[in-house]
Amino acid sequence: MKFAVIATLALSVFVPVAQAADNSEATARASVQKLIKDNKIEAFEKSPIPGYHQAVVGSQLLYVSDDGRYILQGTLYDASAKVDLTAKRLAKVNVAKLDSYPDSKRIIFAPKTKPKYKVTVFTDIDCGYCRKMHSHIDEYNARGIEVDYLFFPRSGPGTPSFAKAVSVWCAKDKRKALTEAKAGATPAPLQCDNPIAEEYQLGISVGVDGTPAVFAPDGSRIGGYLTPDQLQAQLERVAAEKPEA
């Protein structure tokens, strides 16, 4: 009986909180929508932080208190597990976008045997570190790493870098044209139906803000320019991680 009283007391503490949580989703969501104006909330869910929800907006994650009053943006870490929870969640958003982008629109450099790993790399012909990265392409492949290129001409549509990307895409042998352009040759100007604008938009939507931008199979961004040693190490680390941290 005495325990029952205590149990009831404990429940009475918990129950109102549980009820409040049910209404909080709409309140918190409305608050985020007001802040981001015309932008779209792509996902809205409970956050790992008690008392908070989280919203995926473009390539960003916002945390909002259940009463809608406070909105936090930044990088959230789980201190004990040493995990960047923000990057983890955004990787999930990215992987859906990247996985649905077809092979037919990528320029693929694959090892001769079945690849162990596959990376998606946003690249720009006029970027020094992209060129340096491509100079290791045989070495990446030799380590069982498939490199799928998507174009992200940083200067944007209507610029010389963008035109070069189109020319490479429209060449008969795309891979050869890409390799030559990365070695410094100006590609012969060509025009055709091409996915460069689509790739540029995809890049923006997964948060690419510079090139090269290297994405692991789990959708997490693992670089920047990476030497073959560094790329292999990063991919092994990602593969070793539990899917749900």
Partner: protein, 243 residues
């Protein structure tokens, strides 16, 4: 006895077993980034979090010590960045060490607002800013300059000193901002001290403008007298909630 046991169980359930805020934050960082030295810990208006000060940086740590958030918080009611406001508060104390006698002040008759601007004679945007000084004053804004000559502008510290040591500081400052050579006068001056304090509170670029509550004003606002007047009014009307 049974009550006592139940009470203890409840305590455990609610995790009341108390660690101080400092201990909680220190434990979180010792796991995540052991090299980090936490300077101070304080309560936050953001529910469920403490604020950890690391140099001029502010990091949020959840009260259970599990989560660390490096970012900023917005108060949805006022749409103000309260992380910046919290940083501002911590900045104000240091800023007060640079009193009016260590600033060059351009003020209208009855100023409505006052801003602090860290400036460098050899910084183009600082010069552009000063070209509009009359418009700022006309909008009721007093501009208090503090010298922060940048390392990337060799000799700018000597120019700042020469302006400071001129008979008419304001005249010399305006002339220097218009490209005149301020000469090489020397005297006791606050340039080195204000530079040191600026660095200590995380200000490393020019022009950097701070409102009277210590909050930093973005360049796209500070460089326009009209936008600045609107922003200062907004800040005055929406003080950040105190804890």
């Amino acid at each position: 006895m049974r009550y006592l046991l139940g009470f203890i169980l409840l305590l455990i359930a609610f995790n009341v077993v108390a660690a101080t805020p400092e201990e909680t934050v220190q434990t979180a960082f010792s796991k995540l980034a052991p090299q980090v030295k936490v300077d101070a810990v304080q309560e936050s208006v953001v529910p469920g979090f403490y604020e950890a000060l690391i140099g001029s940086q502010l990091i949020y740590v959840s009260k259970d010590g599990r989560f660390v958030l490096d970012g900023s918080a917005i108060d949805a009611n006022s749409q103000r960045d309260i992380t910046e406001a919290a940083r501002a508060k911590n900045r104000l104390a240091s800023l007060k060490q640079i009193g009016p006698d260590k600033r060059i002040i351009f003020a209208p008759e009855n100023p409505k607002y006052s801003v602090t601007v860290f400036t460098d004679i050899d910084c183009p945007f600082c010069r552009r800013f000063h070209q509009q000084i009359d418009a700022y004053n006309k909008a009721g804004i007093a501009v208090e300059y503090i010298f922060l000559p940048l390392d990337i502008h060799p000799g700018a510290d000597k120019k700042a000193e020469a302006v400071w040591c001129a008979i008419d500081r304001k005249l010399a400052f305006t002339a220097a901002m218009n490209g005149a050579d301020p000469g090489t006068a020397t005297c006791v001056n606050p340039v080195a001290e204000s530079t040191r304090i600026a660095h200590a509170i995380g200000i490393s670029g020019t022009p950097t403008m701070l409102a009277s509550d210590g909050s930093r004003i973005a360049p796209q606002i500070s460089l326009s007298p009209e936008k600045l007047a609107v922003e200062l009014e907004h800040i005055a009307n929406n003080p950040v909630a105190s804890r």
